[in-house]
C-alpha cells in the first residue's frame, strides 16, 4: 500500500512535463539542421534549445523519476509509510524551483552554454544556481533513502533488506557521491566567474571535475531501469527472479566501478596523463560486468516465466511468453537497444577507437539509443506499473500502451541508427548548421532526414504515453491491492552482511575515487597560469 501517493505523482508529473517539452525541442533541433529546413540564420537559437533539451533530459527528468520511484519503493518494499514526508516535499520544491530558475535564463538566451557547462563559456548565474538547487533537492532524497533504510534495519535486524530497497539506496549513494564533482566545479569555479568575482577559469580542471560526475550520472539514470528489470519484470510477466544475490552483486558493483572511470570522457584532453586515461579505460571495461550479469539474470528469469507458462524445448519458452503484456514488450525493446548501445559503447571506451568517433554525431546517436531508448522505455514501464497504485484507478489502455512502446522502439531505432552512421562519416556533434550543398557532405542528407522521421515518431509516442497516463486518471476506481515486487526462485532468508549494506562498497568507491582522480586533481590545482579568460554568453553586444 502506497501512502505518499500525491508526493510520488507530483514527482512523476513534473518529470513527464519536462520530458514532453524537451522532446519537442529535440525534434525541432533535428529538423532545423536537416536539409528539410532553411537555415535559421542564428545558431544562438539552436544552442539555446540544446541547452534546454539537455538540461531537462539529463538533469530534471531522470532525477525526478529516480526520486519518485525511490519513494514508492521505500513504502512498498519496507511496508511502512515514508519517514520524513515533509522533507520529501521540500526536496521536490527545491527541484521544481531549481528547474524554473534555470529555465528562465536559458529561454532568454542568457545561458546557452549546454548542459555540460563548457567553461570558459559562462552564462547567467541563475542557470547554475538552478542546477545546484535541483541537485540539492535530490540530496534530500538521498538522505531520506538512507534514513528510511537504517530505521527499518534497526527494527528488522534479522531480515535481509528487500532487494528493491537495496538497489534503490545503492543508486542514491552513487548519485550522492558522483554529483560532488559537478558541485565542486559549479560552486568553486563557475559560479564565482558567473557572479563576476573572477574573470578567468581553469577549464581543464573544470572538465576533470565534470567528468567525475559525467559517467556515473549515466548509471544513476540507469538505476530505475535496472531496478525495474530485477524487481518488476519477473513478477509482471509471471516469472521468478533467477537469483537474488546476483542482483545485489550487480548493484554493489555499479557503486564501485561506475564512478572512478569518468576520464574516458577526456581521452582527447591534454591535461590528463595517458596513464590515468588507461586506468580509467580498464575500469570502464569492468563496468560491463554488472550489465552482463544483469542481462544473464533477467534472461534466465524470463525463461522461468516462459517455462511456467508451459513453454518447452530450447526455444519453445520464447513463444510461450506473454507478448501482449506491455511489460514483456518494454523489457524486450529495452534489451535490444541496450545490446546495440552497449556494442557502440565498447568503441567509445577504447582509447584508440574513440579517436575516430570522438565528438561526432556517433556519440549523440549512442546516448540517445541507451538513455532515450533502453533506459527511458523502462521509465514508461515503471509508470504503467505503478499508475493504478498511485491513482487508485484502472490503467487498462493496453492497446495504446503496446502502440506506444512499439513506436518508441521503432522511432528510436530510426532516429539513432542513421545518427551513428553520419557520425562514422565524421559529422561533428553540437553544430547548428550543416552545409548540405557541399558535395563532401551531401550524401549525409538522406541519413539526417531519416533521423528527423525517427524523431517525429518519438514525438507521437511521447504524446501517446501522456495520453495513457491521463486516461488512467479518468478511469474507473479499482482496488489495486498491495504493490509487490518479484520473488526470487530461491528467496534468501539470510544474506551475507556485505550484501545487506553498503559499507564495503561505498568504501571501495571512495578509495577508487582517490586512486583514479586524486593525483590528476591535485596536480592540476597546483599548476600556475592554467586559467583562461571567461567567455561571456549572452553578454550585451
Amino acid at each position: 500500500m502506497l501512502h505518499s501517493r500525491r508526493l510520488i505523482l507530483a514527482h512523476f508529473w513534473l518529470a513527464f512535463a519536462g520530458f514532453g517539452v524537451a522532446l519537442i525541442l529535440g525534434e525541432w533541433q533535428m529538423f532545423i539542421r536537416s536539409p528539410l529546413s532553411a537555415w535559421i540564420g542564428n545558431p544562438e537559437w539552436y544552442y539555446r534549445s540544446v541547452t534546454a533539451h539537455g538540461t531537462a533530459m539529463a538533469y530534471v527528468f531522470p532525477t525526478l523519476v529516480a526520486m519518485g520511484f525511490g519513494y514508492a519503493i521505500t513504502e512498498a518494499a519496507l511496508k511502512r509509510p515514508l519517514i520524513g514526508g515533509n522533507w520529501a516535499w521540500a526536496g521536490f520544491a527545491l527541484v521544481a524551483a531549481g528547474t524554473v530558475t534555470a529555465v528562465i535564463p536559458v529561454s532568454l538566451g542568457l545561458a546557452s552554454v549546454l548542459y555540460t557547462f563548457y567553461p570558459p563559456m559562462i552564462g547567467s548565474p541563475f542557470y547554475y544556481i538552478g542546477v545546484v538547487l535541483v541537485v540539492a533537492g535530490s540530496w534530500i532524497w538521498v538522505a531520506l533513502m538512507s534514513v528510511n533504510l537504517y530505521t527499518w534495519k534497526r527494527a528488522n535486524p534479522d531480515t535481509p533488506v528487500p532487494l528493491a530497497m537495496f538497489a534503490n539506496v545503492a543508486g542514491s549513494y552513487l548519485w550522492a557521491w558522483t554529483a560532488v564533482g559537478a558541485a565542486i566545479e559549479l560552486l568553486f569555479q563557475i559560479l564565482p566567474a558567473a557572479l563576476g568575482l573572477t574573470t578567468t577559469i581553469d577549464a581543464g580542471l573544470a572538465r576533470v571535475f565534470f567528468s567525475w560526475t559525467l559517467h556515473a550520472i549515466v548509471y544513476f539514470w540507469l538505476m530505475p531501469t535496472y531496478i525495474a528489470y530485477y524487481t518488476i519484470i519477473p513478477r509482471a510477466i509471471g516469472g521468478r527472479l533467477f537469483s537474488d544475490p546476483m542482483a545485489r552483486i550487480s548493484f554493489a558493483l555499479f557503486l564501485v566501478v561506475a564512478m572512478p572511470i569518468g576520464v574516458h570522457h577526456l581521452f582527447a584532453d591534454p591535461q590528463v596523463g595517458a596513464g590515468f586515461k588507461f586506468m580509467h579505460s580498464v575500469f570502464t571495461a569492468l563496468v560491463a560486468l554488472p550489465t552482463l550479469l544483469t542481462v544473464f539474470t533477467i534472461c534466465a528469469s524470463v525463461e522461468i516465466a516462459g517455462r511456467l507458462r508451459g513453454g518447452k524445448g530450447v526455444f519453445g519458452w520464447i513463444t510461450a511468453l506473454p507478448w501482449r503484456n506491455p511489460m514483456m514488450l518494454a523489457v524486450t525493446f529495452s534489451f535490444v537497444m541496450l545490446g546495440f548501445g552497449g556494442a557502440g559503447g565498447l568503441i567509445n571506451m577504447s582509447y584508440q577507437l574513440d579517436a575516430s568517433i570522438h565528438n561526432t554525431q556517433w556519440i549523440t546517436g549512442h546516448f540517445h539509443l541507451i538513455f532515450g531508448g533502453a533506459i527511458v522505455i523502462m521509465y514508461f514501464a515503471i509508470a504503467y506499473d505503478l499508475w493504478p497504485h498511485l491513482t487508485g484507478k484502472a490503467l487498462d489502455s493496453f492497446r495504446m500502451m503496446r502502440i506506444q512502446l512499439w513506436s518508441w522502439f521503432v522511432g528510436m531505432i530510426v532516429l539513432t541508427f542513421p545518427w551513428h552512421y553520419v557520425g562514422i562519416l565524421g559529422m561533428p556533434r553540437r553544430m547548428a548548421f550543416y552545409d548540405y550543398t557541399d558535395p563532401a557532405i551531401a550524401p549525409q542528407a538522406v541519413s539526417v532526414i531519416a533521423s528527423v522521421i525517427g524523431g517525429a515518431i518519438l514525438v507521437v509516442s511521447g504524446a501517446l504515453f501522456v495520453a495513457v497516463l491521463v486516461r488512467g486518471h479518468m478511469a474507473v476506481r479499482v482496488e489495486p491491492g498491495e504493490y509487490r515486487f518479484s520473488v526470487a526462485a530461491h528467496q534468501p532468508a539470510r544474506v551475507p552482511a556485505a550484501l545487506n549494506g553498503f559499507g564495503l562498497w561505498v568504501s571501495l568507491m571512495l578509495a577508487l575515487t582517490v586512486i583514479n582522480y586524486g593525483f590528476p586533481i591535485v596536480h592540476l590545482m597546483s599548476l600556475r597560469n592554467t586559467s583562461v579568460p571567461v567567455v561571456w554568453i549572452g553578454a550585451p553586444r
Binding site: 545558431p43 596513464g275 590515468f276 586506468m279 580498464v282 568504501s507 577508487l512
Partner: protein, 264 residues
C-alpha cells in the same frame, strides 16, 4: 547477518572485493604507467621515472632537439583583456579629441572618412587601441599610418580610442537597396572551417578585438581581406582572420565587403 564482522580480512567478501579491486588497480597502473610508455621508443624518456611522470601528466620541458617555432615576422604585442584599453572618462575623450586633430584630414572631421581610409567613429575602443599599438610596433605595416603613430604614447592611444569610440556611428554610405545577407556572413563555410563573420563581428555575437565593419568603405574591406589572405597583414592574434580570409573565394570576399559597406 548483523553480527557478522564485515571489515575483517577473515570475511571472504571483504577480502575478495578489496583484494580484486586492489589487484586490478595495481595491474592497470603498471601497464598504464610503466609498460605502455616504455613501449614507445620514439618518446625519448630519460628513464623509468621520466616515463612514469609523463604518463601521470606532469608537464615536461620540450626536448632540446626540438626548437620552438618562431614567426619570421613581427607579431602583435597586445594582450586583449577586459582591462584594455582602460577608462574612457570625459577628460580622456577630451584629450583624444585634441589629438585627433592630426587625423581629420584622412579619417574625417568626426571620424567618418570621405576617402577610402577607414571610418573610426563608433569603432570599438579596444580595436582602435590594438591597431594603433600594432602600427607602432610594426606588427601591422602601413606606409601611411606607420609614421603617424611613432610619437603616440600608450596614454595617447587610450585617449584616441576613447574619443573615436565615443563619436556616433553614422551610415557613411547609403545604397538604394539593402542587400540580402550573404551566406558567408551569416553561416560561414563549415566545411572550410570558416565561422560566420557575424559570430565575431557582431549581429550574432561579438568577440572582443573584432572591429566594427558596418558602413566601412568596400575598397578598404576588400583590401584588408586580401591582405589577410596573402599574409601581408599579419597582426591578427593566432591568425584568426588570416585563417578565414585564406579560405574565402574572391567572390565571397567581394560579397562580404559590399554587404558590410552597405550596412548602416
Amino acid at each position: 547477518m548483523s553480527s557478522e564482522r564485515l571489515f575483517s580480512l577473515r570475511n571472504r567478501w571483504f577480502a575478495t572485493a578489496a583484494g580484486v579491486t586492489a589487484l586490478i588497480a595495481v595491474a592497470s597502473a603498471t601497464v598504464g604507467f610503466v609498460w605502455l610508455p616504455l613501449l614507445q621508443p620514439t618518446a625519448g624518456f630519460a628513464g623509468l621515472w621520466d616515463a612514469i611522470c609523463s604518463a601521470a601528466g606532469l608537464v615536461r620541458a620540450v626536448p632540446v632537439a626540438e626548437p620552438v617555432v618562431q614567426a619570421n615576422y613581427k607579431t602583435t604585442n597586445v594582450n586583449l583583456s577586459s582591462k584594455v584599453p582602460g577608462n574612457s572618462s570625459a577628460i580622456s575623450i577630451g584629450r583624444g579629441a585634441t589629438l585627433a586633430m592630426q587625423c581629420t584630414m584622412c579619417h574625417g572631421a568626426r571620424g567618418l572618412s570621405e576617402a577610402d581610409s577607414p571610418n573610426l567613429a563608433g569603432q570599438y575602443a579596444l580595436a582602435i587601441f590594438k591597431q594603433l599599438q600594432d602600427y607602432k610596433s610594426g606588427a601591422r605595416i602601413s606606409a601611411i599610418m606607420g609614421p603617424r603613430v611613432v610619437t603616440l604614447t600608450d596614454q595617447d592611444m587610450h585617449d584616441l580610442a576613447a574619443y573615436y569610440a565615443y563619436l556616433p556611428r553614422l551610415p557613411a554610405y547609403h545604397p538604394a537597396t539593402a542587400r540580402p545577407t550573404p551566406r558567408i556572413v551569416e553561416s560561414g563555410a563549415p566545411m572550410r572551417n570558416i565561422a560566420p563573420c557575424a559570430s565575431c563581428h557582431g549581429s550574432i555575437d561579438y568577440k572582443g578585438g573584432s572591429p566594427w565593419l558596418e558602413g566601412e568603405s568596400p575598397v578598404y574591406l576588400m583590401t584588408q581581406l586580401n591582405a589577410f589572405a596573402s599574409g601581408a597583414r599579419h597582426n591578427d592574434i593566432s591568425q584568426q582572420m588570416r585563417n578565414i580570409a585564406r579560405g574565402m573565394s574572391p567572390a565571397e570576399i567581394e560579397a562580404a565587403a559590399l554587404y558590410y559597406a552597405s550596412q548602416p
